[in-house]
């Protein structure tokens, strides 16, 4: 079976080919879901692995190290002084003239100032208010679904719910919320990491400037209407350290991209992934049906198993040794969370989806250290509510065909998942 699986992606056999001939970041392994054997081999044979060329194969610019073991990833995350998040948290360096600045790609103290300014959006008081709103919307969305006929879960549920939430976070006009999905998809569709299927630098630039213009107007509208609202834009405006961010377009644009992608692709793909993983593991679904109290634990397991952002990148600020290998100053260092999350030295039976596993929260999908996901509690809440409401309405969700996955090494997700709902009996 493995042979057939490997041929499906059109790439060389990851176990029989010399490692130096394998492009670890080839997005087609994610598109065809054939990434596991290569990462399993790297964890075993070359856990701190140097690749002399960039994504795209020999000759491509952007050589990098791949870190694939759980503990090594944690070590790098800890050492933010030696492993900087500047200039980029993606494998590739920033595009020429598009050197946008976002706090995830900065180090302290600027990072801490900008992050603290927006962190309140996910403070408990806000989360409690969001919970009511999210539940109401989730109910509406689920109640509008056809029962007994096949439809695409990604469009009808995952995109719909995450985009509504994102619009709320920005106090963005709901009727134009599809723009947020469009911009989020654009931000991560760099042709250089999507096997050429994404957009060119020029195409992306035009769209990102459109986004900036829209959000610049929104900034001024929000400023003129300074009501008590805990949306991200008003939070930036209220904090003296970020109150003038709109005057620095590259910083404003960068942080918008960060918050839009961070609040969108991730939850969206975990919402779809959960349906698929539960369908593929009927005994786990049976556990859930028998004990809906497992939902919070299951949500963590879905996030681990999906790992919607397979990697982040750091850059070595000095020569530094990791697990016996010297990483020279200036090196790109890619932390493969998706691999660390399947490292059986850190997580027992890591390749299995187990909704009640011990220490279920100990996974790398949110990253670790000072750049750890700030929206993690909101994401968990959204997923928890979706599953609570699904179990109230449907007996099961049948997957009617294989998913269409994204061809992207930065976002592990889905374009389509055909499903059919079965009513409660």
């Amino acid at each position: 079976m493995n042979q057939a699986v490997r041929q499906r992606d059109g790439l060389p056999d990851p176990l029989a080919t010399p490692l130096e001939q394998l492009d670890v970041a080839d997005p087609r392994r994610f598109e065809h879901d054939t990434w596991q054997p290569l990462f399993e081999r790297l964890r075993r044979e070359s856990p701190v692995h140097y690749q002399s060329y960039g994504p795209g194969g020999p000759g491509a610019e952007g050589d990098f190290f791949s870190i694939t073991r759980y503990q090594d990833i944690v070590e790098v995350e800890k050492n933010w002084e030696a492993f900087s998040s500047e200039p980029s948290i993606a494998i590739l360096d920033p595009e020429p003239d598009m050197s946008v600045q976002m706090f995830i790609s900065t180090d302290p103290p600027l990072h801490d100032d900008q992050r603290r300014a927006v962190q309140g959006v996910v403070a408990p008081k806000n989360l409690q208010e969001f919970e009511v709103l999210i539940r109401q919307r989730t109910q509406e969305t689920l109640d509008s679904l056809p029962v007994g006929e096949t439809f695409n879960w990604v469009d009808r549920v995952s995109i719909d719910l995450t985009t509504k939430m994102l619009a709320t976070l920005f106090d963005f006009p709901q009727e134009q919320r599809q723009l947020l999905t469009h911009w989020s998809d654009t931000a991560t569709s760099d042709a250089r990491i999507t096997a050429g299927r994404g957009l060119s630098i020029e195409e992306r630039r035009v769209i990102m400037i459109e986004m900036l213009e829209f959000f610049t107007k929104l900034w001024h509208q929000h400023q003129a209407d300074d009501r008590e609202s805990f949306d991200l834009i008003r939070m930036l405006q209220r904090d003296p350290k970020t109150a003038n961010m709109v005057d620095d377009p590259l910083s404003y644009m960068g942080n918008l991209m960060l918050l839009i992608v961070g609040g969108n692709d991730t939850t969206r793909n975990s919402m779809t992934g959960g349906v698929l993983h539960l369908y593929d593991n009927p005994e786990e679904f049976a556990k859930l049906k028998a004990n809906p109290g497992l939902i919070p634990s299951m949500v963590s397991e879905i996030i681990r198993y999906q790992t919607p952002l397979p990697h982040m990148r750091r850059t070595a600020t000095r020569d530094v040794e990791l697990n016996g290998t010297l990483i020279p100053k200036g090196s790109r260092v890619v932390l493969w969370y998706i691999s660390g999350n399947r490292d059986s030295d850190a997580i027992a039976n890591a390749d299995q989806f187990i909704i009640d596993r011990p220490n279920v929260r100990n996974h790398l999908s949110f990253g670790m250290g000072i750049h750890r996901c700030m929206g993690n509690r909101l994401a968990e809440m959204q997923l928890r509510i979706v599953w609570e409401e699904i179990l109230q309405r449907f007996d099961r969700i049948e997957v009617m065909g294989p998913p269409v996955r994204t061809c992207n090494s930065f976002v592990r997700g889905y374009h389509e998942l055909p499903v059919r709902l079965h009513p409660l009996v």
């Binding site: 800890k78 603290r116 962190q119 403070a123 408990p124 220490n359 670790m368 000072i370 750890r372």
Partner: protein, 104 residues
């Protein structure tokens, strides 16, 4: 053996015996004290075992890694600590630890 008193945000108290060699975080987890998540399992890289130490004897200094995570907390106070960095020993005095409203 020191006695550790955890006080949840809503005021609920849990008194447990601290075991030498364990951390305060591990003690809370072992006794199912709600309010500590410990997402990273004790490496001081997630910040989700944040607590406020009300009374205690001498404690270890805040190391730079702990400081970098505490620095991100909007609810940080002067007695904020990551409970995974507080190792219990037999010589230790009893300790009262208040838990925050939320972990993030």
């Amino acid at each position: 053996m020191p006695v550790i008193t955890f006080i949840e945000f809503d005021g609920t108290e849990h008194q447990v015996d601290g075991e030498s060699g364990m951390t305060v975080m591990e003690t809370a987890m072992k006794h199912n004290v709600p309010g500590i998540d410990a997402d990273c399992g004790g490496s001081a890289v997630c910040g989700t075992c944040h607590c406020f130490v009300e009374t205690a004897g001498e404690l270890p200094e805040v190391e730079p890694q702990e400081e970098s995570m505490l620095g991100l907390r909007p609810d940080r106070e002067s007695n904020s600590r990551l409970s995974c960095q507080l190792q219990i020993s037999d010589q230790m005095s009893d300790m009262t630890v208040r838990l925050p409203e939320f972990q993030m």
